[in-house]
Subunit: 238 residues, 2 copies
Amino acid sequence: MKVVVLCSGGMDSVAALYWARAHHTVVAVASFDYGAKHNPREIPFAREHAAALGVRHEVIALPFVNQLFASHLLQSGGEIPEGHYAADNMKQTVVPFRNAIMLSITCGFAESVGAEGLIIAAHGGDHAIYPDCRETFMQAMGDTMRLGTYAGITLLRPFIDLTKGGIARVGYGLGVPFARTWSCYKGGERHCGRCGTCVERREAFLEAGLPDPTSYQHEDPLPAAPHGSPGSPPPRSP
Amino acid sequence: MKVVVLCSGGMDSVAALYWARAHHTVVAVASFDYGAKHNPREIPFAREHAAALGVRHEVIALPFVNQLFASHLLQSGGEIPEGHYAADNMKQTVVPFRNAIMLSITCGFAESVGAEGLIIAAHGGDHAIYPDCRETFMQAMGDTMRLGTYAGITLLRPFIDLTKGGIARVGYGLGVPFARTWSCYKGGERHCGRCGTCVERREAFLEAGLPDPTSYQHEDPLPAAPHGSPGSPPPRSP
């Protein structure tokens, strides 16, 4: 299938790009600069991998998100909180309806370039605190894309039954150079090691039993996961 | 309900703004400049009406649509075709997934400013040639918005059971100055009178039995509607 891949430059979506390259025809890769603190750190990695695989790459700027939306993830927002994702203060990092916005734009772009599918690296461990990561949302979004395009564009989520550790394993199998991916929401010189995404990144390599190639600023003991074992996906209806 | 209104500056969405002002609390009005030929003509009217009603107005620029998407509606596209909308060549004016993109962004903005609903001037005569005007699409999009936001934002379509002529009548009742609205896709000095949207605008006032305040460049006899009587809505499931 001809597909467009949504790739932020993070470990999940870079692995999804390598996976897509192995299983589909990748027409283009789309990255979004929506004014998040970590966009300048992650997008160059997306560009690097698209170039390495010889695939067209588009960076789509959404300056209005930083100007009009409220979120601590944005350059216009407050401090990124530390600790495990499920903690209540992690809600501050939600960018309202971000996934729908990125998926809608990528879908319109995909229809314009003759693609039939769109790949997103959503996974089983994605967070219920983010409404636009929930399974019910993703199902409705997939319907919206299929019904709103001539091509009936399909939303593909090849990693939806994997944990983040599972993605790490798949990525290693595909030769993904994970050192050349970015997770930290703080967007500093190095991964902080303490924010929600850094904690998950560290847990993912641990769970996968693989060496973590990341250089962290802090390597404190990982906080306890609030529910279940680290990286275990929440129950999900089929 | 606190709502954000999607307003292009066209006759339907300006009427929707006046209707929303009468029935809800309008927190903000959003217009999109996506590089269409007629955006520079219509957006000033949206701004004018928001100012007249004392409501916050945001113009959101989407330059990537003109750069990356294929459509004759765009400045980067070919000539706007003439004749009735349902004609096959009108497909050339589809901007892929445009409604989903505008609705997603407006929904994220609405959640950021504490709104609970979003109003779009979709109506019963909207065109099945545009996949993202179809009822099934709009239902799925409404689900997506409700499921993907904390507020469970509701997609409101107050005009969905009206024809465009019906909207003209409602608008007249609300005192909408229709001379200060724009429809023509060609984006010239005056309404051309021949493109799909001009034909519909002329039919709407005829159907409503109201004077058309528009100055058209051409006032040829209206082309025959390909299905049913002019402005009659297609059959729709409840």
